[in-house]
Subunit: 389 residues, 2 copies
């Protein structure tokens, strides 16, 4: 930890100010001077002191990315996409919250401490009003400090949570937990919104990229119903999380439309995580409850693989004896046995967009909220039930 700006300046025979200007590049400097400076930098192997420049410039080149677990493909893919957009001008600080509200808050504070240029919060939110309020407060402080905040994969914050914003912000509010776009029943609205126009998020606001979990789940259940299934089990994700609930909502909307809602409660079991063991145990629990369903939906593809494994271990064939479907369409789902019917969410492009939004390289959508569409992918794991063959 030796060579500093001053050393370079001395060697190049210029002032520290000039060196700084050459390095930051945002100020005119004579060609030959810049040449000498650059040579001195080379010779001395000088490396800028990040903390020092961050202090002086009151801004750092760190971008925080909050994920539940970076090893989970759902988050890994999004984080990778964010990183791809950030490139090497900024650094991505990845924080594994493990889905814990407390850690989410802790990390947000840590990122504020680092004076992060932006923060991307990925994945579903915990539906606790108290936590939402605390989260909103943290996020608000972050934006007030000049950081851009992007929510990717969760519904927008309620206005109360982030405190009344500008006049334009008022138009953004949605009822707690109601997914925008999905609730309207239509195609997810989303207009690129060129430049810096477009409601909050343009500057100092929070931009949200919500996922159409409800719509996707609804279409998936409709698919099963159309195949002839009437008793459809559901191994849901952890309770009190927006992703879990929205998917369940869509499922139930489809059931209700066909008057099949009565059994829904008995056919639903909540896992404790979006992982394979959770699916395995969930499936066993479902079988234990009596009349077996003819199809089982899972919280996501990983859970679905656990479900398949459990069914197989119980001597049931998928999809001959029982259909199974997942959600998210992870890369390996097509190679699973059997290839999973699922709902694709364009995680990579959503993450990339979140990254651009975080860098301000893309304008915020109108109202600061856009909904990412979800597409039904039918593969081999779903088929008509016995009665329909």
């Amino acid at each position: 930890m030796a060579v500093t700006l001053a050393d370079v300046a001395a060697r190049a025979g210029v002032s520290a100010a000039t060196v700084s200007r050459v390095l930051s590049g945002n100020y005119p400097v004579a060609a030959h001077t810049r040449g000498r400076v650059l040579r001195a930098v080379e010779e001395l192997e000088y490396v800028v002191n990040g903390p020092a420049s961050a202090l002086a410039a009151a801004s750092s080149d760190l971008v925080g990315v909050l994920v539940n677990d970076i090893a989970d493909p759902f988050f890994g893919i999004m984080a990778s996409a964010v990183q791809g957009e950030i490139g090497d001008r900024k650094l991505a600080v990845v924080c594994n919250t493990g889905g814990s509200p407390e850690r989410e808050l802790t990390y947000l504070t840590l990122l504020q401490r680092q004076r992060a240029a932006a923060v991307v919060v990925t994945g579903g939110a915990v539906e606790d009003p108290e936590h939402q309020a605390a989260l909103g407060a943290r996020l608000k402080r972050l934006t007030e400090g000049g950081a851009r905040v992007v929510l990717c994969g969760r519904p927008p914050m309620r206005d109360e949570a982030v405190g009344g914003g500008t006049g334009a912000a008022g138009a953004t509010g949605t009822a707690a937990g109601t997914e925008p776009g999905a609730a309207a029943g239509g195609a997810p609205e989303d207009v690129p919104g060129g430049g810096q126009v477009g409601g909050r998020g343009a500057d100092g606001g929070i931009v949200t990229l919500a996922f159409d979990n409800t719509g996707g789940a609804r279409r998936l259940t409709e698919h099963l119903i159309s195949l002839g299934h009437r008793r459809i089990g559901y191994v849901a994700g952890p309770a009190h999380r927006t992703t879990t609930r929205h998917r369940l909502d869509g499922h139930r909307q489809a059931l209700e439309a066909r008057g099949l809602l009565a059994d829904a409660e008995a056919l639903t079991v909540h896992g404790w995580a979006y992982d394979r063991p959770s699916g395995y145990d969930g499936a066993l629990e479902l079988l234990r409850r009596g009349t077996a369903p003819t199809a089982v939906l899972a919280a996501n593809d990983t859970v679905a693989l656990g479900v398949c494994a459990a069914l197989r271990d119980q001597g049931l064939r998928v999809p001959e004896d029982i259909s199974v479907a997942g959600f998210d369409d992870f890369p390996y789902s097509v190679d699973a046995y059997p290839a999973l019917t699922t709902v694709r969410i364009p995680l990579h492009s959503a993450g990339a967009r979140a990254g651009r939004l975080a860098l301000g390289r893309e304008g915020a959508p109108p109202g600061g909220v856009a909904t990412v569409p979800a597409e039904l992918i039918v593969r081999a794991s779903t088929a008509p039930p016995h009665a329909f063959r």
Copy 2:
């Protein structure tokens, strides 16, 4: 960005120094004083200025983690484990190099600029002497600056690359590209090494957690040979990378022991990445080359899934017509069709150990190098060839 240490000090009626001491906690402060300070911090919602304290203390709480691609489970799992160990006292800066040597160097410089407390470099290295030299120089500067450096999943640096270290370092060198432990043919050596003792890496050195790729690959090929296979195809990873070469080395060692090395060249094809398309195309290429192999080994499980897909599309059954095996034992490999025979590398525990090493929470192994074992996992994708049934 308003409230500073001074503000808190004023509100608490103490000096800035006292507030600093309360916050860092590494200095005795009277109970009631600390109480008042803490209250002031709460009331003012004070958040430390990271860059400022990093500047003053000449150290930051950032830990860099270099990966090829965080969306790849191989890296995602290790990164997640590293993150789990560093918890929320330090922040993980994840850098996607995409396997590019240049970006690897760029990121290392960026991390040095941030005065990262430690850097964990994961995955195989590019086997270019020039790059190795440049890499060694960067790593050396990092360690000289007080950062801990941990290599996880690649062989140790040659001593020339990192410049002559202390006397103890001399014992660590291995011939370029020769994997320690594996080459010896015995079980991977590894002694925890309590405390701060144990060769380089204890302070200012580079600690290496090498993977036993060679040994794992050798055992995998031996397994196939023992099943009766004689023509074994190999869809390798990108050339000039240690992981690719070490696995290929192990494969050939096993072939050579049975006098089967003659066809090896013609049965090997290099992919351009450790991904599915690479496996798909590699398998087709292999089939195109004439006499089809009775088994195909893949660079890793992801590639193996691509191989299986290609074979299936060509009307071949796995493993009836042709056996397939992967490497790494990713979580989903057991759910693939058919369940993959593979070699398990304990990525999570290796990553966790790398994390502890990076924090100095665990002593360096003797010589600064430990080898992570690889275990053969036999599943359904490998079976005897037709001739043996």
